[in-house]
Subunit: 149 residues, 2 copies
Amino acid sequence: MKNQEELFLDFLARKRLKNTSQRMIILKSFLRQSLHLSTEDFYLQLRKKHPAIGYATVHRTLKLFAECGIAAERNFGDGQTRFEVNYDNEHHDHLVCTGCGKIIEFENRQIEQLQLDVARTHNFFIKDHRLELYGLCAACHASEASSLS
Amino acid sequence: MKNQEELFLDFLARKRLKNTSQRMIILKSFLRQSLHLSTEDFYLQLRKKHPAIGYATVHRTLKLFAECGIAAERNFGDGQTRFEVNYDNEHHDHLVCTGCGKIIEFENRQIEQLQLDVARTHNFFIKDHRLELYGLCAACHASEASSLS
DNA sequence: ATCTGTGCAAACCTTTTGCACGTCA
DNA sequence: TGACGTGCAAAAGGTTTGCACAGAT
């Protein structure tokens, strides 16, 4: 099994794209972070250490990551696209706290199986799916309850 | 049980908002369509019969629908916000055909129940969720298969 | 009469692109 | 050397807003 870095290098070679210092810096930085950062936030964080790298390069490189499969593009409805690391084709879904913005990943085989059943019922051939649960995490729920008293 | 129109009128009264002819036209037109139109597409369709109504008014009115609960804002990752009619707080999810753009609604109680289980495991208090399955409908799948031969 | 709503145009915000220069192969 | 990549700035694409006039209560 190849790791994410190797997968990306293979992808570049296959597409005759070039391996530049910027792409390596962005790749390493992206793999190091495990959050769900928007392009903007990721760029701002990256810029602290690498002020010369432009937003457009970051954007284009994240798109490449998505294209080669090591990143997944997410969209939680706040108008910003987020990228997350995609390990080993494992699929996971998200719990999103509308109070503090925290995002928790989860995986549930039974739900995945039921999705396949639904698809079959409608003669659909599923390629991908997105499941997001929106609500309050324990901490936000507690603080909301106390502020009402 | 009140219908969607009554719900909206109640909402306007409660908020001391005014009942204008534009809002009524947009409301009736919105309830009549059962598709998942983007604001832009909805506006273009509406303008055929009511050329004097502006985009901003349509946009603001759809937002009001979402606020009062008779519409739900959706986002399928194509950069456009879509609004759909929300009947009786019934929740449903979507199958999206990436070939022809067709959107099919479905409902699955077992999946909903499993979501609650996931939330409980993480001490989350769910308010809402979104589930979208992306793939090819039977027709697109067939035409893709035939074009490959 | 007053306060909200409308339509227009402009502002905004994020994503995408054109271009001249730099860099990898 | 030649093609691709980069950084900048500007364009694009969609959503939101300020403002002056119109309309509802």
